[in-house]
């Protein structure tokens, strides 16, 4: 499902963010990416949704070599991957419902499917009652649930999240984690970069630790391993 072989990523400014990374992640796995700031976690995540291409090495997602992907194929490639960020990235003038529907409208889904799918994911993230609210009328946790709903509304095979609980207090973080766990139980692969020791240590999953662009640890049901 996700395969990286000897991946190096050097940015324009000469910084080498990834330094020979090889990894396999199977369908349906739940993986934490941990490591100090600047270690290369976000770069690792960006390689998966083809925000960046590897300088050398192979990145293969759903059987597609991202280096060989043509520009015009990228949008269709992305439709099979959902992405969640620390800062939610919601459109402030659209309601909760519209924010989620937006993701389907811009890929030209039929209005009937859009209504059906948006209602389903609103149910899943437990926000049906707030469908008509604007983002600034919601708590941080609720906003993040909207952004997760948007990421999964297109039924992607993989959901990747870059520090999704980074802006949230611990209680709210647990809400978010239970949503991710629900999604994972339905067969979606989840890859999540995080700095939360509590989460990683309590909700045991595979842990991949990156330091200075290299994978230094890869354990199923691993520990966070840092003092925050």
């Amino acid at each position: 499902m996700i395969k990286m072989e000897n991946v190096f990523k050097r940015y324009q400014n000469g910084v080498t963010a990834l330094n020979g990374v090889s990894i396999h992640i199977e369908k349906g796995e739940f993986v934490y990416i941990v490591g100090p700031s600047g270690a290369g976690k976000s770069t690792f995540i960006k390689l998966i949704y083809r925000e960046v291409k590897p300088t050398t090495g192979l990145v293969e997602i759903n059987g597609v070599n991202t280096s060989e992907l043509k520009e015009r194929e990228v949008p269709f490639f992305r439709r099979r991957i959902g992405v969640v960020f620390q800062d939610f990235k919601l459109l402030p003038k659209l309601t909760v419902y519209e924010n989620i529907a937006f993701a389907l409208e811009v890929i030209e889904e039929s209005p009937r499917n859009i209504r059906k799918r948006v209602m389903e994911v609103l149910e899943l993230v437990d926000l049906k009652s707030k469908a008509r609210f604007l983002p600034n009328e919601l708590s941080g946790g609720e906003q993040q649930r909207v952004s997760i709903a948007r990421a999964i509304v297109n039924r992607p095979d993989i959901v990747i999240a870059d520090e999704p609980t980074g802006n949230l207090d611990p209680d709210t973080s647990w809400d978010i984690m239970s949503v991710f766990e629900d999604i994972n139980e339905r067969g979606t692969t989840i890859i999540m970069a995080t700095h939360s020791k509590e989460i990683v240590n309590k909700m045991k999953k595979r842990v991949i630790a990156i330091e200075s662009g290299m994978i230094v640890r890869d354990e199923s049901r691993g520990e966070y391993g840092y003092e925050n």
Binding site: R72, P75, F77, R79, V83, K89, L91, A103, E108, N154
Partner: protein, 297 residues
């Protein structure tokens, strides 16, 4: 493209137009100024061309015969004219025929000339065609020396003046218009740049969820096209009203030889369409420029 999708792009494009306030006004204004000039230019150049062609078609020399000349004098003059080498044909046209032609040539307005049928003020004339149009001047010069010649008219001078003016007008017009077109394109591309900046979050999300590049770009093309087309409204209005006034009101009252304008219909409408298309093209060009530079999709 699905109709639903097209409607969406149209809606977004219109929304964008209202987003940018005075930049929108500035870019529409510059398209307006540009197209006003393009319209004036096209009307002048095409009419000059039309006139020049008309005149060129029949470069005839018309010899007006002295009213005092007897029938014998007229015959002699005709013989003398026929002796000139460069002449292809000579036709006599009596003053009654001349009046008939005049009345016919003026259409409705000619009615008033019918009063003169009793007391025709015109001259008998010889109408001469040269073998080669460029010989008309020589022929006219020779005939001027003959007896009983009241006047020799020919179109050559008008033609060359017309062509000369036409050439200069074209050069000045084209330089001016090219400059203005680029200003308009620049302003439009800047307006659209503002829209792209204002919508960068939205565009980022669209890319993230897998919108195609075409889908992301369309509203900006539509915005540009609309800016250009809105900019063509005033020029088209001025063109239609102005040309109607000139053709139907002004020109009828002035009688200048060879001064014959293209008729309002279909000419003014054709030019209007051209203006609209140029406006749309300027707009699309402006949007392509800024989409290419600022929208890395």
């Amino acid at each position: 493209m699905k109709i639903r999708t097209f409607k969406r792009h149209l809606r977004e494009g219109v929304k964008n137009i209202f987003r940018n306030g005075w930049m929108t006004v500035a870019s529409i204004g510059s398209v307006t100024v540009t197209l006003l000039l393009v319209a004036a230019f096209l009307v002048i150049i095409l009419n000059l061309n039309h006139m020049a062609e008309k005149v060129e078609e029949d470069v005839i020399v018309k010899v007006l015969i002295d009213v005092a000349a007897s029938d014998e004098d007229i015959k002699t003059l005709g013989h003398n004219i026929k002796k000139i080498n460069q002449i292809e044909s000579v036709v006599f046209s009596s003053k009654d025929e001349e009046l008939d032609n005049l009345i016919k040539g003026m259409g409705k307005e000619g009615k008033s000339w019918e009063l003169f049928e009793q007391d025709n003020p015109l001259n008998h004339a010889y109408i001469i065609k040269a073998k080669e149009p460029q010989d008309t001047a020589v022929i006219a010069e020779k005939i001027r020396g003959f007896d009983h010649v009241h006047k020799v008219n020919y179109g050559k001078e008008v033609v060359s003046q017309l062509f000369e003016f036409n050439k200069n007008a074209r050069i000045v017009g084209i330089i001016l218009i090219v400059g203005l077109v680029f200003t308009a394109i620049f302003l439009i591309s800047n307006t659209i740049k503002l829209t792209i900046m204002a919508r960068s979050t939205e565009i980022g999300i669209m890319k993230l969820v897998g919108a195609t590049n075409g889908f992301i770009r369309w509203p900006f093309f539509i915005e540009g096209m609309l800016l250009g087309m809105i900019g063509s409204i005033i020029p088209i209005g001025v063109l239609l009203a102005g040309y109607y006034y000139i053709v139907e009101k002004l020109v009828i009252s002035v009688q200048i030889p060879f001064f014959e304008l293209l008729s309002f219909y279909p000419f003014a409408w054709q030019i209007s369409l051209v203006i609209l298309l140029i406006g749309a093209l300027i707009g699309v060009w402006g949007s392509i420029m800024s989409v290419r530079r600022f929208l890395k999709v």
